[in-house]
Amino acid sequence: MHDDISAAWRSFDLHAPTDEHRLLAETLQTFVAQEVEPQAAQYNREERFNLALFRRAGDLGLLGLTVSESDGGAGLDATAAVLVHEALSAADPGFCLAYLAHAVLFVHNFARNGSAAQKERVLSKAISGEWIGGMCMTEPEAGTDVLGMRSTAVRQGDHYILNGRKMFITNGAIDDRTTGDVFLVYAKTDSKISTFLVEKGFSGFSLGQRLHDKLGVRASMTAELVFDNCVVPVSNLIGSEGESSKHMMRNLEIERLTLAGMSLGIALRCLEVMVGYSNERKTFGVPIREHGQIQRHIAESYSEFRAARCYVYDVARRLDLSSFGNRVDADGAKLFAARIAKEIADRAIQVLGGYGYMGEYVVERLWRDAKLIEIGGGTVEAHHKNITKDLCRAPELIRR
């Protein structure tokens, strides 16, 4: 009897608990090897967004991953979302960030909170990849202190007048001149936060600047967007006026978890490169895997990677995407995964020596990409603050 219980439990795969997850992982493996990996070095070097690849992800159904089937998506869960981000980031975290901004920050958020009429008009275009979406929270003078945002919207008859600037918006531009197609923009109505659906070409909406020369994730476009007496029809208000801070906080949970998934992909790839190289490279007559210090790089990287992977996927397993209040572990998973991925990328370069410092060996790119996860979607310091606040309010979370 005991044997049976533990046998069933042992065969449970945290990373692919159902047939659908397993098949998704198989599809991703082929898609990434055949289509994502071959373009990664070039698009990141040239700081270009690969629109054709983005549309291929649309063909495969990846852009509507977590949207319910009745709304035209695949109806999958947080585990599937982490799985996709891990797989894409093992080859191209830059492309993956553009994917995340679209699929998680725009599509997922919009499908949860938009009305039936709004979804009818916009969702299928976003799921197919015809429209490229993003989410605008950060402002030039308000990032971590998001509730201190200054953008405002004032109702005038059947439309709102939106004023403000939004900073560091992924997919804000698709090249130097063109904005993305559709955005969820947070702004204050009176003193409370509301969300507006702003579409390319709206009067008063423009590209402030496309931001060049990022440290990493260079295949994703980052922009400053300007809303200067931007005219937004009342029918483009998401939900009711003033009720968005809850939605915003909820979407940050899946955002942070998928960012943690990106860190896993980076760590995984760096480990593979490091282990492969230590088998090949010889110094002082032996493969470098024989040197104690190299062993320490590999062993610490491996155990940290496994620990992070369990944590992130366990949080994903528990996360009900319709629920609120899962901040402590969304933040915790990202806090840990971001750090270990950054350190593992660093060790990978170290193990490869001079070759590690060269673009051809991929890990220097991943090293630059890894840093983003300590800033985007909430800084490490913001996670420290949130986790401590949540635990001190509810210490029972520790024993859960």
Binding site: E20, L23, T27, T30, L60, G61, A74
Partner: protein, 264 residues
């Protein structure tokens, strides 16, 4: 038209295979399993034939452990219509498997059977041939095509096997070239590597696969003689590769190739 495609669960070709110390089999712990790559090509070809004709049904059949469900789901997610798994936990030789397929082809009244030319685990390369003999049907083995895998025809999903007017035209790989055959349908065709590049499942395909029929049959319920006629005595791993060596001159290289490697 009803097309039956065979699907075998095999170890991942990229996995490193270790033979058990006593030679009775391979170590299967932590081994990843996939659809036999040749069968994947057979599935792809069946789907293309279906897409071209508009009316065909593609039925996957597998014989093996219950876990072979996973490989059938992969095929269903690629686009096959339904699947049948004959559950057998025991070892079966090629003839037993061919007999089971024979029974399924008759029960299903299939018009065409596509198989991989061989399974990459035991490389037997005989199930298709045996099945054709049992059915008394014409057969074409090692189906390939004249267009390259980089050609426009390939990218647009044109099938390599052409079926019209009750006959199938098959280009097959033979030593040093290609041979084109025509055979009447119903027929058995086994497929080779250069016939097509199999698609991978899209998410909508994966979600649809969940609702498709996957029927399980107990091997005993078929009334087929599956007693093994073949006994595997032992397995040995291939000899370890010797380390490479640097030679000083072309002359030395030629001599080594002649005297040691004995290849020239």
């Amino acid at each position: 038209m009803k097309i039956l495609v065979t699907v075998k669960r095999v170890p991942d070709p990229n996995a490193s295979i270790k033979v058990k110390p006593d030679g009775t089999g391979i170590i299967t712990d932590n081994l990843k399993y996939v659809v036999n790559p040749f069968d994947e090509i057979a599935i792809e070809e069946a789907l293309r034939l279906k897409e071209k004709s508009g009316g065909a049904e593609v039925v996957l059949v597998s014989v093996g452990s219950k876990t072979a469900q996973e490989q059938l789901r992969t095929g269903l997610a690629m686009g096959a219509d339904r699947a049948i798994l004959v559950v057998a936990e025991q070892e079966l030789d090629s003839l037993a498997v061919a007999r089971i397929f024979h029974k399924l082809v008759q029960d299903e009244k299939a018009d065409l059977v596509l198989l991989g030319k061989q399974a990459i685990d035991d490389d037997a390369n005989q199930t298709g041939q045996m099945l054709a003999a049992l059915l008394g049907w014409p057969q074409a083995t090692f189906a390939s095509k004249t267009d390259s895998l980089e050609s426009e025809a390939e990218k647009s999903g044109t099938p390599g096997i052409q079926i019209s007017g009750g006959a199938a035209k098959v280009v097959r790989e033979v030593d040093g070239g290609l041979e084109t055959l025509e055979l009447p349908v119903p027929a058995v065709i086994t497929v080779d590597l250069r016939l097509n590049v199999p698609r991978y499942a899209s998410l909508p395909g994966i979600m649809k696969a969940r609702k498709k029929e996957l029927k399980e049959l107990a091997i005993d319920s078929l009334g087929v003689d599956v007693k093994p006629k073949l006994k595997i005595l032992r397995l040995d791993p291939p000899p370890k590769r010797q380390a490479g060596r640097k030679v000083g001159s072309v002359q030395e290289l030629v001599q080594a190739l002649h005297n040691e490697a004995k290849v020239i």
